[in-house]
Symmetry: C2
Subunit: 199 residues, 2 copies
Amino acid sequence: MHAPPIQRLITELSKLPGVGGRTAQHWPSTCSAPARRTPSHWPRRFARSKLRVSPARCASTWPREPLCRICQDARRDGDLICVVEEPVDVISIERTHEFAGRYHVLGGALSPIDGIDPEDLKITELYARVRDGGVREVVIATNSTTTGEATALHIAAGVRELAPEVAVTRLASGLPVGSDLEYADELTLGRAFAGRRAL
Amino acid sequence: MHAPPIQRLITELSKLPGVGGRTAQHWPSTCSAPARRTPSHWPRRFARSKLRVSPARCASTWPREPLCRICQDARRDGDLICVVEEPVDVISIERTHEFAGRYHVLGGALSPIDGIDPEDLKITELYARVRDGGVREVVIATNSTTTGEATALHIAAGVRELAPEVAVTRLASGLPVGSDLEYADELTLGRAFAGRRAL
């Protein structure tokens, strides 16, 4: 999934006591994030160290080449773009084996209170990909949080204005697999009801 | 929601140290469950004590009358039946304010390993309600567990055979509201993908 140096970094970091693979996956992006998003206690020398990779031109993951491995893979469906917040979300979705299209990583979610506006995310780059044509569907897979939902609505409106023929979809909200109705919160259960489907 | 004696029992039980309202809600049905489902350490005298209410003829909740309060309410849509496993699920769904139909409580889920077969649940009673006519949709809201899913498929097949014109639906599976993609398990994320909807 990752470029070899990133994968090595994650493997080495996850050997530290108390650090698992999931935690370590976040660290490469934290190292290269804009200064205001890097924790102030982060050791300066580590924060300034340069990684030998950078976000791909295709805005997917962290490769050494201009295009990430997924975008280089000709077997994948270029008509489908899945929009996620962070590179780590690509890995979660790949594990499901449900998606055979390409990704677009925004680099976060809209959050005016934290000073994250549309210009701070790779939204213009997404519109450019849609404008280039050949896109059939944009699947918005931002988190199911307030900021993730706001980002989804913002992008959906933008894509619809730009290319009304492109389908814009959102991941289903509902009960997690293996869960009991009784312990679901009201909002989730309400969404599961509203989104019920023929069996 | 409950008949007054049940509500009083729940209120009193939930005053015990370490017992919350959700736990206490289970106890009235445990007291009246068939012997093999009652824990063996359950004090005999309490297990044998008779509650002054019994499951309703409409198989919804625990009223003093033959029909539960929800089924007595003429403002509710009689064309819609929501099938749940336990009386406590009715309360969870009522809290969402998303459903204005009536309920059918099965009294559990199919689980051959625990000796719970279709005859042990109120499935025949559900088919009788469908056969009586006037039902437009059966919403199957069993838990999203293995036994809940098996029960849903069993009931869906039965209703389709009995009345092909009745719509059979199932609550949406997907990401709970407020959750991050990264922490969703693969099955849930896969279902959220497969069930994506136009935005």
